[in-house]
């Protein structure tokens, strides 16, 4: 089955460009006529993943495949990894430093939002090696 493949580099600690990859993906989905509510779920979950790479991982890559009935987004970084994934999944739990929080980020809703707005969420992480997140959203 043919699909659209898109790749983006997300810069670490660059808050002004954060969200550009999810904006691009969003624009592609609008051109495909995907229902707005699905676009919103993609936009929110991918944006959270992007911001996570900006804050915690010193940047990373986004690999996006758009199919007729769903989208798969891989967010891959070589950052410090997550020590306790179970804890990181808890709403409100955050390891973001204060300067990042003062920008309005790091409220501890990143991973919970990714779970909430996707149909399938997969995460693997190794301390010192990095984190891989896969987001799947089905289209209506």
């Amino acid at each position: 089955m043919s699909n659209i493949h898109l790749e983006y580099t997300v810069e670490g600690n660059n808050f002004s460009s954060a969200g550009m990859a999810s904006d691009e993906v969003k624009n592609n989905l609008k051109k495909l006529g995907i229902p707005p509510e699905d676009i919103r779920r993609v936009a929110i979950s991918m944006y959270e993943g992007e911001i996570n790479m900006v804050i915690h991982a010193g940047g990373g890559h986004a690999y996006v495949d758009i199919f007729v009935d769903h989208i798969e987004i891989w967010l891959i970084d070589e950052g410090k990894g997550i020590e306790n994934i179970e804890l990181a999944m808890k709403p409100g739990w955050s390891t973001a430093p204060d300067d990042v929080r003062s920008l309005g980020f790091g409220a501890g809703m990143g991973l919970p939002n990714m779970v909430k707005y996707t149909d399938d969420f997969h995460i693997e992480s190794e301390v010192g090696k990095g984190t891989k997140v896969k987001l799947t959203i089905n289209f209506h």
Partner: protein, 425 residues
């Protein structure tokens, strides 16, 4: 479907040099250059006036009605936008402007600033009880409303479904004339507008079932007529009934302040507006904001291209003028209308203008083709091909807007390609 038949911006082909300035800066990619002239995709145009503002050759013209059209009516009512008062140096009394309008031929005036105070109060009610998805987005700027209508369908549930102050002013002014015994057919209501977006909205009846005004005049067109009339006034009738709250609608955050909520965000300038809308769509961080005021023009309505004065100068003048006014002079209770009077009669249509194909499988094929074409393009967005970006060029080929064998000039022209980093390819 859209019923839009009036265009906010037109081209003067004599003056257009095909320089690509407007095309590069159009926020909705609604402009292409064809045969050396700019051409507009009107289904994408939101009437923001950026192209009018930026064209170095003054080839982009905002549409509006000429002053003489008021003579088609026996009883002429002017409804001036509050930004009008920012156009005059040392203005200390709004009545000078209003009496000036009477002197140049109007029979009555009704300030849009008055109805703005009513809309502010109605907004308060809607924020509390309107069951609109938060944050509520203001709809007073028609260019923003149009932008959301073509690009941000997700945010339609957040729109404040109230008529704009100009609509309310038109309705109240007409009623006042009718109750004074003037025949319906004799009444002409004319908005004095700071921007082409308002012209567009009023001509097409955005949010209403039929247009509420009989004409839309440009501030820039009446200015030179009005100025001498204001200087030669022999008496000053007390006509104004507008407080600072109404006047402040002319500048960014004036509307938001009027809603009384402390949790608001106000952004102005089309690029900033787009940033906020993108953020709203993708992020959850603006969920604790109650009200979002967006103005397509820098500084708000004083930045509209049909004004004559620099927006910052106008803003400074209005700040001084507002100090002389009482806070608020118009209340819903005094007008005695139900909330329905202030609500949209119909929801503006969402226009699907960016979707490349109705069939999703075909649409995906087309976007794959776009990505393939992009691989061979220099990605410098120079505009030489007549499209605003390499991506837009690729999309135009795929959607058949331009022939499939159209060449990228940066790649085929040896001289131009000197500009390119060949190692990068």
């Amino acid at each position: 479907m859209n019923s839009i038949n009036f265009h906010p911006v037109i081209l003067d082909p004599e003056k257009c040099k095909g320089c690509v300035t407007c095309m590069k800066r159009c926020p909705t990619e609604a402009i292409r250059v064809r045969n050396g002239k700019a051409s507009i995709f009107y289904d994408r145009c939101i009437g923001c006036g950026e192209c009018v503002r930026l064209c170095p050759h003054h080839a982009k013209l905002a549409s509006y009605d000429l002053f003489e059209c008021i003579n088609d009516f026996k009883y002429k009512i002017a409804i001036p936008a509050p930004s009008l008062y920012g156009q005059f140096n040392n203005l200390t009394n709004v009545d000078t402007v209003l009496n000036g309008l009477i002197a140049i031929g109007f029979d009555d005036v009704f300030e849009v600033g008055r109805s703005a105070e009513l809309v502010s109060e109605a907004s308060k009610i809607m924020l509390d009880k309107g069951k609109i998805q938060k944050p509520v987005i203001s709809t007073a700027c028609p260019a923003v409303l149009e932008l959301i209508s073509v690009k941000y369908k997700n945010l339609v549930p957040n729109l404040l479904n109230l008529l704009a102050p100009v609509d309310i002013a038109a309705k109240l002014a007409r009623e006042r004339a009718e109750s004074a015994g003037i025949s319906k057919d004799d009444i002409g209501v004319f908005f004095i507008s700071p921007c082409p977006a308002k012209v567009f909205a009023l001509k097409n009846g955005l949010g209403v079932s039929k247009p509420l005004v009989d004409g839309v005049l440009a501030i820039s067109d009446i200015y030179l007529r009005l100025l001498p009339a204001m200087k030669n006034l022999t008496e000053l009738k007390p006509l104004s009934k507008m407080g600072a709250e109404g006047l402040n609608w002319a500048t960014s955050s004036g509307e938001a302040t009027g809603t009384g909520t402390g949790k608001y965000l106000a952004a102005d300038g089309i690029e900033n507006v787009i940033n906020v809308l993108n953020n709203l769509e993708s992020s959850t961080k603006l969920r604790d904001v109650d009200f979002i005021e967006l103005n397509a023009c820098t500084s708000g309505c004083v930045g509209g291209v049909l004004n004559i004065e620099n927006p910052f100068v106008a803003k400074a003048r209005l700040r001084e003028l507002s100090k002389k006014l009482p806070n608020k002079l118009n209340n819903l209770a005094d007008v005695g209308k139900g909330l329905d009077f202030y609500l949209w009669e119909k929801t503006p249509d969402y226009r699907e203008v960016y979707c490349v194909d109705e069939n999703r499988t075909t649409a995906i094929q087309k976007l794959i083709e776009v990505e393939n074409i992009l691989k061979d393009l220099p990605l410098v967005d120079c505009g030489l091909c007549g499209a605003p970006s390499c991506r837009a060029f690729a999309e135009d080929i795929v959607s058949g807007v331009i022939p499939a064998d159209t060449k990228c000039l940066r790649l085929v022209n040896d001289d131009a390609s000197l500009l390119l980093d060949k190692d990068a390819k």
